[in-house]
């Protein structure tokens, strides 16, 4: 298990490889579909300080508010591939060092990871109560009124948030490997 403090530098990230287990410490930024579209179309500055050397988490959480304080009910990863058209540009624009999600991403993101020095981290999909247990506090939220609870830019302070490197800064992807192997098995099963 490798412990990563956020913000994180390029050298630390380039030292990670596919299969490494990491534990994240610091403030991460939740951003999913609407947030990615917004980051590409408007390039907002309010999120810049949190993303420089920072971490994006593809997650639309369940949150409850009591007396102005937000708490996390459930917060597992959402499917990352939907952000494929945006992510490479977001990584370069904001200097993002890691993206957490599930299901992996495509060639455009993989190329950006290599060029910019960033990694894709896979969290266990559906393990939303387990993962919420690593959130210590919710230091802020942006665009809550405009985007709604599942799509807002939430800030989570995490301590030991677990994930696995499945796409690294050397251009390797576990998802490409598994996809190739399953395609070969599929061809055999259909008699191709």
């Amino acid at each position: 298990m490798k412990h990563i403090d956020i913000p994180v530098d390029e050298k630390t990230i380039r030292g990670l490889g596919v299969g490494d287990e990491v534990a994240l410490h610091g403030v991460i930024v939740l951003a999913r579909d609407a947030a990615h579209k917004l980051m590409i179309e408007k390039r907002p500055d309010f999120i810049r300080p949190h993303l420089t050397g920072g971490v994006i988490y593809h997650c639309g959480p369940i949150m409850l508010e009591k007396k102005g304080v937000w708490s996390v009910v459930s917060a597992g990863p959402t499917t990352s591939i939907r952000e494929e058209p945006y992510e490479g540009t977001v990584i370069a624009e904001y200097g993002v060092r890691a993206v957490i999600g599930k299901g992996g991403m495509g060639p455009k993101t993989l190329a950006a990871l290599k060029q910019q020095g960033a990694v894709y981290l896979h969290a266990v999909g559906g393990a939303a109560v387990y993962l919420a247990g690593f959130v210590r506090s919710v230091p802020g939220v942006y665009m809550l009124d405009e985007l709604g609870i599942p799509e807002a830019f939430w800030l989570f302070e995490v301590d030991g948030f677990p994930a696995i490197v499945t796409m690294d800064a050397r251009g390797r992807s576990l998802h490409v490997k598994v996809d190739r192997a399953s395609s070969r098995a599929f061809d055999a099963l259909i008699g191709k």
């Binding site: 009910v73 917060a75 597992g76 992996g104 559906g126 393990a127 939303a128 387990y130 599942p150």
Partner: protein, 301 residues
């Protein structure tokens, strides 16, 4: 009656969202033992089981995507459709305030979230009136990630050599499972409908997800198809979360529907590992909860 329906439906939502049915948990437990010890796949399944136990103990939604809430409700003549629908909407809104459901209804044109998980076509309610007294209700919470990887093929599909026969059905289903990779939160459960039109195909395929994972189709041909598809899906070795491994699919549930001579649809409703459902029967104003559906007989409706 209104109060009973409201409270019962709310409790169904709470149970479905926070308490994984024992047949699903059992299948994940068996899968975790089948994976190589110390592998990423085994580790992921271990975390899933830990998550299930935490969610149950703390009554918190095991997945943040509480999905589309789909209801199947058989009601007697003296309880109107309007009464039933109003109770579902009340329970849905209340469940959002209590944190059992995420506000999940987004206006597709304006992008605005309705804030209470209700909107046009949400929740989905299938009502059927019955002559007998009493009610039987099923609810399924199915997330967006696995809905996105569900699919429908129109046979023949020459690209995979799939003709208009059961072998073609087999190939078409495997193509959808292979395309999904881990993105539907594997290991998944798939409902398969052979035939029907485009709408009933999806409806019947999704309804199969209400069946206990341990049952099999009473139709011998479909039971064989279920076994073959389970074995061959797992030979793809996509594994939990797409990490690679022995368990890609936990169970296959197949059903058939008549089709037009011109059409041959094969529909797959993919459920993530987190197959969330709840079942109830209401008789003489008293609800009885169960791990299995009172509505769905094995193998169809």
């Amino acid at each position: 009656m209104r109060k009973i329906l409201q409270e019962t439906f709310l409790e169904m939502i709470r149970r479905a969202a926070t308490d994984l049915p024992p047949d699903v948990e059992g299948a994940i437990r068996r899968a975790s033992k089948a994976e190589e010890r110390g592998s990423t796949a085994a580790g992921a399944l271990g975390i899933l089981l830990e998550n299930v136990a935490m969610a149950r103990a703390e009554s918190r939604p095991m997945c943040q995507d509480t999905g589309t809430n789909t209801w199947w409700i058989h009601h007697p003549v003296d309880v109107t459709a309007g009464t039933v629908k109003a109770a579902v909407l009340w329970a849905t809104r209340r469940a959002v305030r209590l944190g059992y459901l995420r506000p999940n209804a987004v206006d597709s044109v304006t992008g605005e979230n309705s804030g209470d998980n209700t909107g046009v076509g949400q929740p989905v309610i299938h009502l059927e009136q019955r002559a007998r007294a009493g009610m039987a209700v099923d609810v399924l919470l199915k997330g967006g990630g696995c809905e996105n990887v569900s699919g429908q093929a129109a046979l023949p599909d020459f690209s995979i050599g799939a003709g208009r026969d059961l072998d073609g059905v087999r190939k078409a289903v495997l193509k959808i499972v292979d395309f999904a990779q881990g993105r539907g939160c594997a290991p998944g459960v798939i409902g398969v409908c052979v035939g029907g039109d485009r709408v009933t195909g999806y409806e019947l395929a999704k309804q199969q997800l209400l069946r206990p994972l341990t049952d099999r189709s009473p139709d011998r041909v479909l039971a064989r198809l279920e076994r073959t598809l389970l074995k061959e899906s797992n030979e793809l070795e996509i594994g939990p979360m797409g990490f690679g491994g022995k368990t890609t699919i936990l169970a296959v549930k197949a059903v058939k529907a008549h089709r037009l001579p011109a059409s041959f649809f094969v529909t797959v409703s993919y459920s993530c590992w987190s197959l969330r459902r709840a079942h109830v029967r209401i008789a003489r104003g008293k609800p009885t909860f169960s791990d299995t559906s009172f509505l769905l007989k094995a193998g169809g409706r």
